[in-house]
């Protein structure tokens, strides 16, 4: 299988020392996953589940106190192997934007408010592309037109554009060098439904055209349903389930996933939806055993003491639950046909 990214047993902790007392927050705890070429991999999880810390490691944007304690991260670009956690600054500079790029959440904080869009493009992409003057401009204009943006946006300042247009500009920035690997961190959370759909379809379109891999992070499961090829669910720093989108929605094998997909309200259905009781665990002091057990309806004694391993339950489908055989879709879960379009 052609993989672009291999993550093995990755542990990244926030290590802090106050007055001689050291404290660690296990934001990413023993995550193993691989991302293939030409796929959209969705990462779901609530806030403070460690998904942003994972992304920081993958994007080589780690800053102390976040540190990799154990495990490895390996990218395969053009037959070249590179580890973003140990690579030198020069190597990272070489792969950034050309091979590895990043779409961030708030478009307003990415675009410099006092620089025209064309200047921002030049700052980011001129060097990696190696084009000068008119050729560079032509390339950028061409790329923007594929995102349905007129060339006039290049002369505008960020505040002159609408939220949807700004987000499309940041997508343009992240994709203008045709990178092989794109990390998108909640790119549509601040947008309205109509614009959100437009931006999502644009990311998908451009991914398919370039054949790159996208890691797509959001807590909104309905976005994952329509975007991702595969989904990984992160709970309290651990990967608890991973599988193809349809299986995750229609035959989940982890109680947390089953809850997530069943709690989505739908138009045409007013039955009472259950909310998950309890609160997300504190990562500085996570519960022993399976970290989901205090909120889990299926928990048994074994869950309170032993950490369940991530086992393969079906093709491409892995789950970390002692009782995965007993997990059934909950009331109100979507009922699509598993067989359709697989």
């Amino acid at each position: 299988m052609d993989t672009v990214l291999d993550v093995k047993g990755l542990k990244a902790y926030y290590l802090m020392k106050y007055f001689g007392i050291s404290r660690e927050v296990r934001a990413v705890d023993d995550i193993t996953m691989s991302i293939r070429r030409n796929e959209i991999y969705g990462i779901a999880g609530e806030s403070s589940s460690g998904k942003t810390s994972l992304i920081k490691v993958l994007a080589a944007a780690m800053r102390p106190p976040l540190e990799v304690v154990d495990g490895s991260v390996r990218y395969h670009f053009n037959g070249e192997e590179i580890d973003p956690t140990t690579a030198s600054k020069e190597d990272l500079k070489r792969i950034r934007w050309k091979h590895l790029s990043y779409i961030m959440q708030g478009s307003m904080s990415v675009l410099n408010p006092v620089r025209r869009i064309e200047r921002t493009f030049a700052d980011f992409a001129k060097e990696p592309l190696g084009l000068s003057g008119p050729a560079f401009r032509e390339r950028v204009e061409q790329h923007l037109s594929s995102l349905k943006l007129p060339p006039s946006v290049l002369r505008s300042y960020p505040h002159e554009l609408s939220g949807g247009m700004r987000q499309r500009v940041t997508i343009g920035l992240a994709t203008v060098c045709h990178p092989e690997f794109i990390i998108a961190d909640e790119p549509t959370t601040a947008l309205d439904v109509v614009v959100q759909k437009e931006v999502l379809s644009m990311i998908r379109e451009i991914q398919q055209k370039m054949g790159s891999s996208v890691v797509f992070v959001t807590h909104d499961m309905s976005v994952h349903a329509n975007m991702a090829d595969r989904i990984g669910i992160i709970y309290a720093g651990r990967l608890v389930e991973e599988g193809p989108t349809r299986q995750m929605f229609f035959a989940p094998k982890h109680p947390y996933t089953a809850h997530l997909v069943a709690s989505l309200p739908r138009i045409g259905d007013t039955t009472q939806r259950p909310a998950l009781e309890g609160k997300p665990p504190n990562l500085a002091d996570p519960p022993p055993g399976c970290r989901f057990h205090p909120r889990c309806p299926l928990a048994i004694d074994k869950c309170r003491t032993d950490v369940p391993p991530l086992e393969t339950v079906d093709t491409d489908h892995r789950t970390a639950c002692w009782r995965w055989q007993d997990v059934r879709p909950l009331d109100g879960a979507p009922t699509g046909k598993m067989e359709a379009q697989l």
């Binding site: 439904v193 959100q196 379809s201 989108t245 739908r266 138009i267 939806r273 979507p334």
Partner: protein, 307 residues
């Protein structure tokens, strides 16, 4: 029958540009609706950003004055020139809940101090036992208790708990009306339903009417009784929530419904929106003359002259 809240042909016009500019923007145009006092309901305002839904909410709260038209709460006009006593009286009856609980609370101030000062202000008492009882009572309604909250700072609570505290604070004076401006858009998916179910139980068990402002059609369908859909300051469709959302009639409402991401067809990558729908909705937004027309099933739909 008395109206709890009546909005009569309300306009809000903001000037744009500098001193010499005559440009203006109509954030809310000719909005009218009313909430009855007899039966509590969840009334939803749907619209994208810039549709005027927050401006409308601010006018109901008396934070903004309508340029034209009138807002009546229990038959009395909501206006800025109320005296302090009247204003307090009004505030104790209409309470807001805001979008982001992390911004609504000062991180250096304990949560119970917010609750206590609200209780002191509106119950006009400084008796510690009474204040504690009122706080606990309100927290019980949202599924928390004073014991859990006492002495805690905002960072010690999760987003969902914090939003519930914000709702508890609003419930202390026992208001008949709650204005919730996108209360779930900053809350995680797994906790979102807890907040939405809470709004539902406030209506059913405690008789509180809620004006629920959102752009999420799915939760709107789930909890609301009636709704209005706003586009660029104009109400384009109004009526029973289930009737309108099952079969929206106005092109903009249809566009909104078509843009909802469904989990039913997970994994099929259905993301294309029909560009004709977008164009049609945008065209209607610029049509100058229009009015709301009643349909046989009771809903009001905006119709355009010459369209």
């Amino acid at each position: 029958m008395t109206d709890l809240l009546e909005i009569r042909n309300v306009w809000k016009r903001f000037p744009m540009g500098g001193l010499l500019s005559r440009a203006h923007i109509d954030a809310v145009q000719d909005a009218s609706f009313s909430l009855t006092a007899d039966k509590p309901e969840i009334f939803t305002i749907i619209g994208e950003s810039g549709s005027g839904k927050t401006t409308l909410a601010r006018m109901i709260l008396g934070l903004e004055q309508p340029s034209e038209g009138e807002i009546l709460f229990k038959g009395q006009s909501v206006s800025r020139n109320m005296n302090r006593e009247k204003r307090l009286e009004f505030m104790s009856q209409v309470q807001p809940v805001f979008q982001n609980p992390f911004e609504a609370f000062n991180p250096l101030k304990r949560i119970d101090r917010y609750l206590a000062s609200t209780a002191r202000q509106f119950l006009k008492t400084s008796d510690r036992a009474k204040i504690d009882a009122a706080m606990d009572d309100a927290l019980q309604k949202v599924g928390l208790s004073l014991k859990e909250i006492a002495g805690r700072y905002p960072h010690e609570l999760s987003g969902g708990q914090l939003q519930r505290c914000a709702i508890a604070r609003a419930l202390i004076p026992n208001p008949p009306l709650l204005i919730a401006d996108e209360p779930v858009s900053m809350v995680d998916a797994s906790l979102r339903m807890a907040i939405v179910n809470l709004l539902r139980s406030l209506r059913d068990d405690f008789g509180v009417s809620v004006i629920y402002i959102t752009h999420d059609l799915a939760t709107a369908y789930y909890i609301s009784d009636r709704l209005i859909i706003m586009q660029k300051g104009r109400i384009v469709e109004m009526g029973d929530a289930r009737v309108v959302l099952s079969d929206p009639e106005h092109p903009y409402s249809r566009l909104l419904k078509a843009s909802v991401l469904s989990s039913e067809d997970a994994g099929q990558g259905k993301l294309a929106t029909n560009p004709d729908m977008v164009a049609e909705a945008n065209r209607l937004a610029t049509m100058p003359s229009s009015r709301l027309q009643e349909r046989p099933d009771g809903r009001l739909v905006r119709t355009y002259e010459g369209a």
